[in-house]
Symmetry: C2
Subunit: 374 residues, 2 copies
């Protein structure tokens, strides 16, 4: 395989580069999915996920699919046909939640904000007032399509005041900024492994509060997905160890190792590191004369969206960056296509070397394209 | 990770042992899921899957989940609420198909056979006659819970005579016995990577005929799963390269390498190897005085179910085998629990060494348990 893989520095919106220790973990020989030694690794992984999510939630497991499977897990398990759900849409992943929820038969009420802005509490409150009996409210904590950081505390209070469940997309936030599931009183969250956890894509960590468990336990209709049905998956990850499907052994090795490394560094230090280098990068880009999409205060340190200067061709620039430096960054999606680049400093990549490299490469390639950098 | 993994020989119903070359492929640094070099690997993987499935089907891809996700993919994409489907149930995976199909709103007609026997063509024909307008008929090609090999050719003819689609669970058959998708005229099939392909679990190869594509293209209702919706997944694996979800990069490296190894050996040789060593094992077990669950002629070479002698405790025996030899074999499921053991000789493990080892270990541990072997 190695001869097929060119040198790359993965500074897009994910996957991010994976630490050699995690890569090596994946090449460890397999165990059976019911082997006592593997069950120990699963237990460890659940504990480590609780630590990184900052929760005591018993139901904290890794689903056998990527982040989008985690999104679907939350909706198929919590929603029944006809349920009203409010979804904050301020980027692609809000839009995706709407699609997923509708396929579960939900009556979806969308609360919109401009891509690059946060979802406003007042707008959510109006929707809650207007539509009685809302089952859940969902927002994206770290919008991967824009780089916006959604504040959660006030929203969580509001949602619970109206008796709804609070659901968060934490695909890009987990391990990069505090997710504080218990402190913020979040009822369900899902994430991915290929962002700030710096493991390969293939699993989706999810966590559910006692309230969410109660909602699942008192469903009137079966979960429409067999593969993602938590009533059965709980019995495999739990003490019963009922066989459901074959767990992706090697991917769990990788996740376990990646989480172990976060624990060794401590979550606090990992988050500080993201904060520090994210700011360094953002300052550096502004110093080059570029402007950032998101207002200060709502920027994610792990994912920065920078506006493409008028005279620069998006695709030409990114192609050059890839070919000359091996650096991958992301383009804009949907309405932001051709308008922004997305630069990730996630997990293992949130370090001085990468900040210096990307700024130097940007300066060089922008200059080639006829832009005078400051 | 390595210090947590005891020595194991995986001779259960899967996962099977993975060749060191495939393990190493997984430790290769990641590429982005839209990187030109990764798209080349995806194209290669599709071609290799077509080779192993023996098909020209354009829609031949690896779904981002384990074999059960492949099962769900087939049903959510082909079935709409109210559709009639006939499912052959002669083991656990037939039962699972029934469950999955019902969650899609299908009206399921079950055709049963004893666990350990094949599904009878006449019984399927009766069901087809009795219920007009059946959309699809599904059977398990290699029942992992019993070791039965289902003949497909006659069944396929029959199903098509009644205008239905023919669907096969090929989780344990792909790469072990001929699947011959085009020759047998199979409309949809799904498999797993951790059986005869000897890659780690996490992907599910699927393939769909033109007729199946037409059925999907003319659906009246949306697919209930966003994650498994092939109308979108086709556009990512196809020429459009539309972003859907982040592909499990490292798992695809592993699958690519495993398939590459099959191509190097040639599919014909791989299948002969399974046939040869499967027979060796079955003869050896009978020579020890044990009897096999499945009638000769319907036995899978890659998975042998052997009846547990009356005086032997299932769990004690398997525990001893694991602790003394590091050998994992499978127990029976559901009604066969405590009655059979399941021994896999899949992919990389279908070799002389493993036949000799398991027979020697069986003889030793059976003797310890007071059984006089021949």
């Amino acid at each position: 395989m190695e001869n097929k893989i060119p040198f790359r520095v993965l500074m897009g919106p994910g996957p991010s580069d994976v630490h050699p220790r995690v890569l090596r973990a994946m090449s460890t020989p397999l165990l059976g999915h019911l082997d006592p030694a593997f069950l120990t690794i699963m237990n460890e992984t659940m504990d480590l996920l609780r630590y990184v999510f900052q929760t005591e939630n018993k139901l904290t497991v890794a689903m056998s699919g990527t982040g989008s499977a985690g999104m679907e897990t939350v909706f198929v398990n919590l929603v029944e046909r006809g349920d009203k759900v409010i979804i904050g849409v301020n980027g692609l992943f809000g839009t995706r939640m709407v699609d997923v929820a509708k396929r579960c038969g939900a009556e979806v009420i969308e609360v919109h904000a401009e891509w690059g802005s946060i979802i406003d509490c007042t707008a959510v409150e109006e929707a809650l007032k207007q539509h009685g009996d809302v089952k859940l409210v969902a927002v994206v904590h770290a919008e991967t399509s824009t780089g916006v950081r959604q504040p959660l505390e006030q929203l969580s209070e509001l949602v619970h005041m109206y008796g709804a469940l609070f659901v968060c997309d934490m695909v890009t936030s987990l391990g990069g900024i505090p997710t504080n599931i218990d402190e913020y009183n979040i009822d369900a969250a899902y994430s991915g492994t290929q962002k700030c956890l710096s493991a390969p894509p293939s699993l989706s960590p999810v966590t559910f509060s006692e309230r969410a468990l109660h909602v699942m336990a008192t469903r009137k209709t079966p979960v429409q997905s067999w593969y993602l049905d938590l009533s059965m998956i709980q019995s495999y990850w739990g003490e019963e160890r009922f066989y459901h499907h074959t767990a992706p052994i090697s991917s769990i090795y990788a996740l376990n190792e990646a989480l172990q490394m976060i624990k060794e560094e401590t979550l606090e230090a990992v988050i500080s590191r993201h904060t520090y280098f994210g700011k360094e990068l953002q300052r550096g880009l502004e110093n080059l004369g570029l402007s950032l999409l998101v207002e200060e205060g709502y920027r994610l340190p792990q994912l920065t969206s920078v506006c493409i200067p008028d005279k620069v061709d998006d695709v030409v620039f990114r192609k050059r960056l890839l070919e000359k430096y091996g650096i991958e960054i992301g383009g804009g999606l949907d309405s932001l296509k051709g308008k922004i680049w997305r630069i990730g400093l996630m997990g293992y990549n949130a370090k001085q070397t990468n900040v210096a490299l990307i700024l130097a490469a940007f300066k060089d390639v922008l200059t080639e394209q006829g832009i005078t950098c400051k």
